[in-house]
Amino acid sequence: MGTLMKSLVFACAALAAAIHPAHAAEPTGEAMAATCAGCHGTQGRLGTVEFMPLAGMAEQEFVRAMQDFRSGKRQATLMGLVAGSFSDGEIEAMARYFAGVKPNAAK
């Protein structure tokens, strides 16, 4: 049982790695973050409430959210599709970028 579980976990990890391979050349966190801005605000500094503002979000929170979107653990309309296009390293780079941006003062 224990072994079966382990190998299942391993199989899933291998599958995940196959689906989300590291890309040959990776854009910077800032460059990737720019593709989020159409909904989440320039530099993630959204001043309105419809989408999640990303500026100033703790790195871990961002990484967890993207990974959960990617795995389907977290329900989403389209973030699952978007998150699936970035590798772990890229998600971390975006997380570092957003964590370093000063959030928009509440409106």
Binding site: G38, F51, S85
Partner: protein, 442 residues
């Protein structure tokens, strides 16, 4: 009108003060942007965010922008023409972008200058061109710009034709037919004609219940076609064609009854051969269709400016180096937005916005003597099948073997998505109109 040769010459021999841009800080220079639409405005803002020392000048024909995205909502009265107007004030005051409100009429790539109808000469270190599309009215026999302005509007570049179409819809006789002639690929906003058809159908249910929408199409498919038709089925009793049925969820039940929205594909004779503007009749391969209101979305090419500047190839669009969008024809000139050839990327505002950012970073890097970084682009187009029924296509794009390729595999709202998600999609569409406009213009 200037032909291309004269156009190129018109820029020459005029070295005015503006021809000598100041190079104050390291990596600085003068970036001139022609076209203050989605692509141009986003590029201007992003250049200033990337390097505030850059001098950035936008040359734009109009004092404010009329946004095309969301403009079909004018037809249903959900918004007015005024709501489409976007100001350039924030780009000026918040970011220090300079504006020249004038039409570019001359280009001298050797001297790196452009010239305007108002006889101003502007010199650049780097030039970004985002002129949008030109509508090929004459490609449809019987159609013309004059007919579009008076009888059968297109409304694909928003303005007087959008207002006219809204007026015609309101005045349409009870039980009348609103015909949309959809364009061939590639064109601006791939889900747009079908979303427009849906919104007009929804409007008619309340205001003209026996009215009908017919979409005549020279294609057999379109992006979001499955999710859009599912929405039409649920909202308007549209029968889903057999070839789409197998993937549909269990609630789908074709009734075999006429529906207020009809999609006539190429394989069913939907291709338009000519129109008669006087009687508003469309002759298709499958026969004649009489319209009460006729909305023609004609074939498209790059904006006229791109032709005048010699930036297009035989396809009528602008070939570019995919990493930076630098023109394959002229060095130090970049073409972004609808006018560019961008492989898997659609001609959408979202795409133009992410192209502008990649290009802004590449231009800033070049001016600073650095190599441009690894690009990544995106596209998220929300569309409505009804005002509370949203759907979307979402893509991420990367450079692969010198071409722009989609790397996301799943693109659409799943066909078995819950109504809660569908309503959320519609709410996001409305929110996006606002957040997106801010990201481009404020």
């Amino acid at each position: 009108m200037l032909n291309r040769r004269n156009f190129l010459k018109a820029g020459a021999g005029l070295a005015l003060a503006a021809a000598f841009p100041a190079r104050a800080a390291a990596g600085a220079g003068h970036v001139v942007i022609i076209g203050g639409g989605v692509g141009g405005a986003t590029a201007a803002k992003h250049l200033k965010l990337t390097n505030p020392a850059l001098r950035v000048t936008v040359i734009e024909a109009n004092r404010s922008y009329i946004r095309p995205y969301g403009s079909s909502e004018v037809l249903t009265g959900h918004v007015g023409m005024d709501d489409l107007v976007v100001s350039y004030d924030a780009l000026k005051s918040k970011y220090g972008v300079e504006f020249v409100f004038d039409t570019v009429t001359g280009f001298d790539p050797d001297r790196k200058q452009v010239r305007t109808a108002g006889r101003q000469t502007v010199a650049y270190d780097k030039l970004i061109v985002s002129p949008g599309i030109s509508l090929q009215y004459q490609a449809i026999p019987g159609y013309s710009a004059a007919v579009a302005e008076t009888r059968a509007p297109s409304g694909w570049i928003p303005g007087s034709q959008t207002a006219l179409l809204a007026q015609q819809l309101k005045a349409m006789r009870p039980g009348g037919t609103f015909v949309i002639v959809a364009p061939p690929n590639p064109y601006r906003c791939p889900p747009g004609p079908y979303e427009r058809g849906a919104l007009v159908t929804e409007w008619m249910r309340r205001h003209n219940p026996s009215g009908k929408v017919v979409i005549l199409d020279p294609k057999d498919s379109f992006v979001t076609d499955a999710t859009m038709q599912l929405g039409w089925h649920r909202l308007y009793g549209y029968d889903i064609p057999d070839d789409y049925l197998s993937d549909m969820p269990a609630d789908v039940d074709n009734r075999g009854k006429p529906s207020p929205i009809e999609w006539v594909r190429a394989k069913d004779g939907g291709t338009t051969e000519r129109i008669d503007a006087r009687s508003l009749t469309v002759t298709t391969r499958g026969g004649a269709v009489k319209a009460d209101v006729l909305n023609i979305v004609p074939p498209m090419k790059a904006g006229k400016l791109a032709f005048d500047m010699g930036l297009t190839d035989a396809s009528g669009w602008c070939p570019v180096d995919r990493r930076t969008f630098e023109s394959s024809v002229h060095k130090d000139v970049f073409v972004i937005g609808d006018a560019s050839i961008a492989d898997a990327m659609p001609k959408s505002g979202f795409a133009a916005n992410t192209q502008a950012k990649v290009t802004a970073r590449a231009v800033a890097a070049q001016l600073a003597g650095r190599a441009p970084g690894e690009p990544v682009w995106g596209n998220t187009c929300y569309a409505l099948a009804g005002s509370n029924y949203g759907l979307f296509v979402a893509d991420v794009f990367r450079l692969k073997d010198g071409k722009i390729a989609r790397v996301s595999d799943q693109r659409y709202l799943p066909l078995d998505a819950s109504m809660a998600k569908i309503r959320l999609g519609a709410a996001y569409q409305q929110a996006w109109l606002k957040t997106f406009t801010e990201d481009c213009f404020a």
